[in-house]
């Protein structure tokens, strides 16, 4: 079987690895923005080839597909979906795994995703307001209180301002930061002409985050084991948000701080979304759909956002876990026969994935880019870990150069997270900077201490959401405006201009 994989990063390397283990003996072809050494090696080893191209250019990808004539095309990242790559390929008769541009709207537009959840009354939804006018947004955030300010469009998993606003004495500071941030966001969003609303303001919730990845053929939703990502760039959950500095999973289907029932509710939410989305956009969803979830006191399982693809680095956790044929799963999704597929996993291991990034990421990718690095992959393999190449390029001379984002991921497993985490640290010691530029990774991911914190937080949140559930208050925030009555929208307030 011939497979064409579109994408260039660590996520695609993980997908390629799992595909290459298939009993179908696939030949893997890759359409990539740069020469990712991990991807080019798998392509070479399976008798395929890596094409350097612009993955967001549908015509380019079509040209490669026509040359390769693959049995299946797998679209890794979201931007090619937004750009219509799957649409054109399907139109030309190719079998494609990856959301169409209309289905990918669930990730591209946060406003669309939130509106959909409200329209179809799907649990786990948050109150929000969307703004296309800077002045209105500025005015609103000034009085909105405890909110999250986000770009209304997917912009590579960053640019969110989450301000816990429970301190009236710091109100002025919060307001100033929010207003300035809104101005900054509008400036950054100006380059995206594909979306009307620029800024989204939503109810802030607190709790434990986790990612629920699924695969769907449009009618059946198949859940993968839960994974937890670590968005803070520095140890101990300090510092700016990144695309993810590492992730943990297992042992088994859920995380140590999520209950089976919460897992089921989460998958129900995603199942509802798949159905609602297809009704709304009148298109079949074939591909991966992930929910970035949070266990909150408001709802229990709550949707923070959706990904119309596998999570990065979350899919990397699946590399040592999935034991059934990954390519068969993809094939069945494409053919609409996913319900008959049995996903088998190793449920006796805890997996820890850690990313390594050049210092400067994520605030200043310019200074993080173009540093020579080396890696002793043999030593990492000896530890039983897998090395994934992400934002790093092999130039002609065999040297590796960073691109400014997460350069590598190591995937390690053991009987518990702590042991897997230590292994990952050891594996990372074989990744070296050749010009002395510091490399950043988080040694605390998977540590017993961090797990204990998550468990404690989950317990606290669970106590409250279960109490709210008993009183029929899930999802509601009751506001009483004297003289006007009771409202359920937390943004209702006599001080907010409506």
């Amino acid at each position: 079987m011939k497979v064409l994989l579109v994408g260039s990063g660590g996520r695609e390397h993980a997908i390629a690895l799992m595909i290459s283990k298939s009993t179908y003996n696939p030949k893997l072809y890759v359409a990539s923005d740069h020469n990712n050494p991990g991807l080019s090696r798998i392509a070479e080893n399976t008798g395929g080839k890596l094409y350097r191209t612009k993955t967001t250019n549908p015509q380019e990808i079509l040209r490669i597909a026509e040359e390769v004539t693959p049995d299946i095309v797998v679209i890794g990242p979201e931007e090619p979906q937004f750009a219509g790559v799957p649409d054109l390929l399907r139109d030309r008769g190719f079998s494609v795994f990856g959301a169409s541009s209309r289905c990918a709207e669930i990730e591209r537009s946060k406003v669309f995703a939130r509106t959909l959840m409200w329209k179809y009354s799907i649990p786990g939804r948050l109150y929000f307001r969307a703004f296309s006018s800077l002045e209105e947004a500025r005015k609103f955030v000034e009085y909105a209180g405890d909110v999250v300010v986000k770009p209304a469009r997917q912009v590579g998993g960053k640019g969110v301002k989450v301000l816990r606003e429970n301190q009236a004495y710091l109100l002025e500071e919060y307001r100033d930061v929010k207003k300035d941030f809104v101005v900054k966001l509008f400036k950054e969003m100006a380059k995206y002409v594909d979306i009307d609303a620029k800024v989204l303001v939503e109810q802030r919730v607190e709790g434990v985050e986790y990612t629920a990845m699924t695969v769907t053929d449009g009618s059946y939703v198949l859940a993968l084991p839960l994974v937890q990502d670590h968005p803070h760039v520095y140890e101990y959950d300090i510092g700016p948000e990144t695309g993810g500095m590492g992730s943990i999973s297992g042992p088994g289907w859920v995380l140590p701080f999520i209950e089976i029932d919460e897992f089921k509710k989460t998958i129900e939410i995603i199942d509802n979304v798949v159905k609602a989305l297809q009704t709304e956009v009148k298109d079949r969803y074939v591909g991966a759909l992930a929910g970035q979830m949070m266990l909150t006191a408001l709802w229990g399982p709550t949707v923070i956002e959706f990904y119309s693809r596998f999570g990065d680095p979350e899919i990397s956790n699946m590399v040592p876990v999935i034991t059934s044929d990954f390519l068969e799963m993809i094939e069945r999704a494409v053919d609409g026969r996913l319900a008959g597929y049995k996903l088998e996993i190793r449920d006796d291991i805890a997996v820890v994935v850690k990313a390594v990034a050049p210092a400067g990421y994520p605030l200043n990718k310019k200074i993080a880019a173009n540093h020579p690095v080396s890696v002793d992959e043999g030593k990492i393999r000896e530890l039983g870990c897998t090395l994934l190449y992400a934002s790093v390029e092999e130039l002609g001379d065999g040297a590796l150069r960073t691109h400014g984002s997460r350069a590598f991921e190591v995937v390690c497993y053991d009987e518990d997270h702590e042991k897997a985490s230590r292994k990952a640290d050891l594996a990372i010691s074989y990744i070296k900077s050749l010009d002395g530029w510091p490399l950043v990774h988080r040694s605390d991911i998977g540590s017993a201490e961090l797990l204990k914190q998550r468990q404690y937080l989950a317990m606290r949140v669970r106590r409250t959401y279960k109490a709210r559930a008993r009183r029929g208050l899930l999802g509601t925030s009751i506001v009483w405006v004297p003289g006007r009555g009771i409202f359920f929208d937390p943004f209702t307030s006599p001080t907010i201009p409506r």
Binding site: L170, E173, I238, P240
Partner: protein, 426 residues
């Protein structure tokens, strides 16, 4: 000992003026209205010593270090250093000559390096601190003109430091977790003894300096210094005090009607004792004006004013009763004498039994954390018989070191007990 606070915003949108103000307010109980704040503006480190209101207005930048203290010459160390293009200021939570040595060593090594690699100051501090392995070094925070912050927890572990985070935006370091709560943050890590933490835009690093990484917290941190709502090295302060209060019952012989605590520190001890002996806990005193910590006042008159203001008795609760009066500690006995005068002459109590939640204080502090003058220590100079007479009380009970040790072991903590004449409690 003073209270340290360091704030770092990863996003330049932040003006931390109010954060400095309220962070210092949360640490007010560790000093007596004296403050210093240092920040970076126009590539220079600038420090301000003044009222909280004034110094916080000067900090309009995304990073700052600050402290509150009582006595400028013993409670803090403040040193500023510069070399080549680098400037840094260190604030320690007590004065010590070793701080000068660290500052000068770091400066001279940086001068000879003459490069501008990131993390250089961290590596130099690490090198110098490693060479001082085994020496007593206070906890300190430092700020550089390149927008970096360093925090080091004392080699002996005597005073704590806590790292907190606020969303994706701020890192907060404080002598006490309380300040992190007040600034809306979450506790992320209790720094270990000898741990050096480095914060900059492009790196956050924690380094363990050579030496013991198990220290002994100053007993007074848990007994007196920290607020009830703080968590110190994972120990819930309120709970520790209540359990210790419970243990006080083991040594108390007297039969009393009610249990009263000296506000505010002794309240949880009194609640614990009352529950243990099954007698009512009562509010015996109400304070006037803002909360002042009498023990941290240096000037004797100021101290007396603080005591008189916070000890207005609730007469009908106390009048004619046999009272167990609980306090966390007794240094010179001046507070207790003043209170007993109020209770004897203004209220008229039947019996007054004083119960102290610490062992007798008989030695000075070798680390100079507490300003203790041995010749004025009540327990070091008066025997119990004379102490009881002087204080005009019916009995005086101190907790026994082995009872306190038992409590410390419940909380899995080893405390410094040098001022009680023993090495460790717990």
């Amino acid at each position: 000992m003073g209270g340290l606070l360091a704030l770092y915003a990863f996003d330049d949108l932040w003006n931390l003026s109010n954060h400095v103000y309220y962070g210092l307010t949360a640490l007010d109980h560790r000093g007596s209205e004296k403050y210093v704040a240092c920040t970076v503006s126009n590539g220079r480190v600038k420090c301000y010593k003044d009222s909280k209101e004034r110094i916080s207005k000067e900090v309009t930048t995304p990073l700052a270090i600050a402290a509150t203290y009582s006595n400028e010459y013993s409670d803090i160390y403040l040193g500023s250093y510069s070399t080549n293009n680098l400037e840094f200021v260190m604030i320690g939570d007590r004065d010590s000559k070793i701080m000068d040595i660290i500052g000068e060593e770091v400066t001279s090594r940086l001068r000879s390096l003459n490069t501008s690699m990131t993390n250089e100051i961290l590596l130099t501090f690490k090198e110098v601190l490693n060479e001082l392995n085994g020496k007593d070094i206070p906890s300190f925070i430092a700020i550089t003109n390149k927008g970096e912050i360093l925090a080091y927890r004392s080699s002996t572990g005597l005073t704590p430091l806590t790292l907190g985070g606020y969303g994706f935006d701020l890192a907060l370091i404080s002598s006490e977790s309380r300040a992190i709560d007040i600034l809306g943050g979450d506790i992320r890590k209790w720094l270990r003894p000898n741990e050096l933490l480095y914060l900059s835009k492009y790196a956050v690093k924690s380094i363990q300096i050579q030496g013991k990484d198990t220290g002994h917290l100053c007993a007074f941190e848990l007994l007196y210094m920290a607020r009830h709502d703080s968590i110190v090295d994972g120990i819930n302060v309120y709970k520790f005090r209540k359990v210790l209060g419970h243990a006080l019952a083991e040594n108390l012989d007297a039969d009393v009607d009610i249990v009263v605590g000296v506000p505010e520190t002794a309240i949880p001890y009194a609640i614990g004792l009352a529950q243990a002996i099954n007698k009512p806990f009562e509010i015996g005193f109400v304070s006037t004006g803002k909360h002042m910590r009498s023990a941290l006042r240096v000037d004797p008159l100021q101290k007396l004013i603080a005591i008189h203001l916070k000890m207005n008795p609730v007469v009908h609760v106390l009048e004619g009763k046999k009272i167990a009066l609980v306090d966390d500690s007794m240094v010179t006995g001046a507070t207790m004498k003043t209170v007993s005068q109020i209770l004897r002459y203004r209220v008229g109590v039947e019996e007054l039994h004083v119960v102290i939640a610490s062992p007798p204080l008989i030695r000075g502090c070798p680390y100079k954390l507490m300003p203790i003058d041995v010749k004025s220590l009540l327990a070091a100079n008066l025997d119990t018989e004379n102490a009881v007479k002087y204080l005009e009380v019916d009995s005086l009970t101190w907790i026994k070191p082995k009872v306190m040790s038992k409590v410390a072991r419940i909380f899995n903590v080893k405390l410094c007990g040098k001022c009680f004449g023993i090495d460790f409690v717990g």
